[in-house]
Symmetry: C2
Subunit: 205 residues, 2 copies
DNA sequence: TAAAACCCTTATCTTTTGTTAACGTTTAAT
DNA sequence: ATTAAACGTTAACAAAAGATAAGGGTTTTA
């Protein structure tokens, strides 16, 4: 993954708008933040994170999408997707700075604003930025904690068929963007099984 | 759940030690923290959180244990457990201050140190405590994010049998403390199915 | 201490999922 | 433009899980 230090005006705008959901920086603070950011464009099928390596960055997707997957018995098992205006990282690897087990791959050409772990630590200790960056990190972690909580609950409480039907209702748009066998993995089943579920839940109009 | 404002010396010590994994407060800061804490002892089978209500507190378990469960079609489905020196809350409900769908029930008499949402917000804005409390909240959220990430991965990547065998290796002690049908729910299967898995994976010595 | 509630196992039957392979279609690569 | 790779569906069979019920043991509790 190539990073160039300078972030375009357009990317900065998208990023500032995206993080406004968590914390607002005034202009002085924002000027201090900018030098800690970098930018990257990942080509389709290139990787943001790979098994066995420390995930160096957290990224904000300005444009594009990625999928998370693992290798099991030589096969790729897709576990998650991220799209525009979402943060992406192999969180456990990034947060612990230990080698991870997650691959993150661009589903299409994907434009990212990046914060390296090192720069994040600098901002967290920065006299002007530290307090707000702590808050920012807390709120982002809390947000994704809630997402994961829902996801775990869906595995505990719902059958694969119920998970699929709920996904149709709440995330129907994703199904149009993502190959179906990735969705099957995401639901915790095989592609063949998802195909059967689709057939038996079809509304014959 | 009864709360009394004063926290015993013993509880304070356990709590301070427990959060030291995340952040250290000096004595001046600690004296400022104490008034924001409260304490509660929950009897076996009493609830820390229930469906439809906002979860008001995050708790630190000094002694005892709890289980998380949901109601589905009138049946209780257990999704998680917490033990001594862990934080416990219906996180999504607590963090968003919206009514939750999670029941949290004491598995035995359980002694907790509590932080109400309101007091947490006061500490986050407190001139002396704010920065460290933001950091504390961030690190706790990050820690549980990593836990949830592992848990989701286990549902994506492993069969129920593999999840059980891994739990035997990494959490064998839990199995001795928790009724087996709760463990089955935790693994995403029925108690009958777990009983079968146990039989077919038995090492006949 | 007796009754009730709870817990785990086992058996039977049904449903669902996994596995493998084949087929036609679409998409991508050369 | 042609070939190759990828994708979704379907079929057939095996394996696993769900549902239900029964039996025996333990723990609660009244």
């Amino acid at each position: 993954m190539k990073c160039h230090q300078s972030v375009s005006v357009n990317e900065l705008k998208a990023f500032r708008h995206g993080i406004a959901a968590y914390v607002n920086f005034n202009d002085e603070e924002w000027d201090a933040v900018i030098p800690f950011l970098s930018s990257s464009t990942i080509k389709k099928k290139d990787h943001f994170a790979v098994n066995g390596e420390v995930c160096e960055h957290i990224g904000f997707i300005v444009e594009g999408s990625v999928r998370f997957y693992h290798l099991k018995d030589g096969a790729e098992i897709t576990g998650y997707f991220c799209f525009e205006n979402e943060f992406v990282s192999a969180y456990k690897s990034y947060l612990t700075q230990q080698p991870g087990i997650t691959y993150i791959q661009a589903l299409e050409e994907t434009q990212l604003v990046l914060i390296s772990y090192h720069n994040m630590q600098l901002m967290l200790k920065h006299p002007l930025l530290g307090y707000k960056m702590e808050r920012f990190g807390r709120l982002v972690a809390e947000h994704y904690l809630c997402c994961y909580e829902d996801r775990v609950t869906s595995f505990i409480l719902q059958t694969p068929e119920e998970r699929y039907l709920q996904m149709l209702e709440t995330n129907g748009a994703v199904l149009l963007r993502i190959p179906q066998h990735y969705v099957a993995n995401f639901l915790g089943i095989t592609p063949v099984s998802l195909s059967r579920i689709r057939r038996r839940t079809l509304v014959h109009s």
